[in-house]
Amino acid sequence: MAEEFEPKIVAFLCKWCSSAGSDLAGVSRMQYPPNVVPITVMCSGSVSPLYILSAFNKGADGVLVSGCHPGDCHYIKGNYYARRRIALVKELMEYIGLEPDRFQMSWVSAAEGIKYTKIIKDFVNILKPLGPQTNLRRSQ
């Protein structure tokens, strides 16, 4: 029997909320798929579109950017900038013909461990039928 496809997810989590949220999920021993590679960034607003594309380029099947809820940003307005920038990236990806579902954004606060596990579970379920991402992957 062929092995089931396990997607690789790169998650850019902001240090102040989402990273703490994922930590909470971990220390609370909540079960969630091991497909995600978390990368802590200082703020979701610091995630350049190049990070996202670079992740796809180097083999990610899905990319998640997660930050604080609007109004909760440690730097007051970083997540508002992120929201605008990522909306543009999403539109452009769709326009070029990449699967827009491979790229998601979420708001996860430090107290939302359950929400974090749910987002990852959903994301994995979305990515499994899509199969490996080959369009932007660098050929070896």
Partner: protein, 343 residues
């Protein structure tokens, strides 16, 4: 109609009175259809200035060189540079002002109105002429292009030869200027994003196939980057040549430098180059269409920029290049920005 003699006279006065360092304008090109950029320093050379349908270049790109040249000089000439701009180019100046790349005193703007037409697409005209060489081209008053070839003159309706961006242009006269030439004609376009919609209506697979076919042609010559008035970064993410490598730079240091994109024109790298280029121009591109014009492989690069212009307008109600004091698209936000895509 734009009176060329007025333009020449004003240019002559500016140079005679030594109000400007030099004037960047258009002069007769060598192939009959296209004009050529000209740098006029001597008052007697102002006679060489032209204004015709082949003036499609965006001359604001040369302000980039001027700034770099000035930075190198020990005692720079502080006088402004005279520059001839069309409606679209004037918006580029507004964006450069908005980004504080240039100061308003650095330029003396000779704004020329496109009136009821615009500039031509050289390829469209060449197709119409079927191999004949044009000697002279001009607009008549009824929106026809009058082409003089060795066999006499022919009239071609403007809509058949206008550059696509001129058809979709929302402004037809400069929005910022010191002297204005021609008439201010209000012309509205109902199809500002028509070219984008053509691609938007394709299915996801068709879109991918379309762009893959286009980007596969790319040879990464970076002509689109060189010609763009907004691509003025000293160091570009796609090439690392400007990293200082000295005798002290160790091999380890060189190896550890971030290389976002490989230089080879393989499909994945070319895609990322073009996506990043488009993203970097989001809210800055004024749709002068130069990138597409200079592309040696005819990749419709403009469609990418136009798409982001459309989204900026529809999602964030942001229009580029009208107000030099507004905050840029990605360094501002509104509380009501859409967030329905966020979980």
């Amino acid at each position: 109609m734009v009176n060329l003699d007025d333009l020449k006279k004003e240019a002559l006065n500016l140079l005679k009175d030594e109000k400007v360092k030099y004037i960047i304008g258009y002069t007769e090109g060598s192939n009959g259809t296209s004009a050529a950029p000209a740098f006029i320093k001597n008052p007697e050379d102002t006679d060489k200035l032209v204004w015709n349908p082949g003036c499609f270049h965006n001359l604001t790109r040369f302000l980039r060189d001027e700034k770099k040249r000035k930075a190198r000089e020990k005692h720079p000439d502080e006088r402004p540079v005279g520059i001839v701009v069309k409606g679209c180019d004037s918006r580029a100046i507004n964006v450069l002002l908005q980004e504080k790349y240039i100061k308003r005193d650095d330029v003396f703007i000779l704004g020329v109105s496109c009136e009821s037409t615009g500039v031509i697409d050289e390829k469209k005209v060449a197709k119409k002429l079927k191999g004949k060489k044009a000697q002279k081209i001009e607009w008549d008053t009824n929106r026809n292009l009058v082409v003089t070839t060795e066999d006499g003159t022919t009239k071609i309706p403007a809509d058949e030869v206008l550059a696509e961006r001129c058809v979709e242009c929302p402004v037809h006269s400069p929005v910022v200027y010191d002297i204005f030439f021609g008439d201010k004609i209000k012309r509205t376009t109902d199809a500002q994003f028509k070219s984008v919609e053509k691609i938007e209506n394709l299915s996801q697979k068709e879109k991918w196939d379309f762009w893959k076919k286009q980007f596969d042609k790319c040879i990464r010559c970076y002509a689109c980057r060189s010609v763009c008035p907004m691509c003025y970064c000293d160091e570009c993410v796609v090439d690392t040549i400007s990293f200082a490598v000295t005798a002290d730079t160790t091999a380890e240091e060189k190896a550890q430098r971030i290389k976002w994109i490989e230089k080879s024109p393989t499909p994945s790298e070319t895609f990322i180059y073009h996506i990043i280029r488009a993203i970097h121009l989001a809210g800055r591109c004024i749709d002068c269409g130069e990138c597409e014009r200079v592309c040696p492989l005819d990749i419709p690069i403009r469609f990418l920029n136009k798409k982001l212009e459309k989204e900026a307008k529809s999602l964030f109600d942001y229009e580029v290049g009208f107000d030099p004091d507004q905050l840029s698209l990605v360094s501002s936000f509104k509380d009501e920005d859409p967030e329905d895509f966020i979980r």
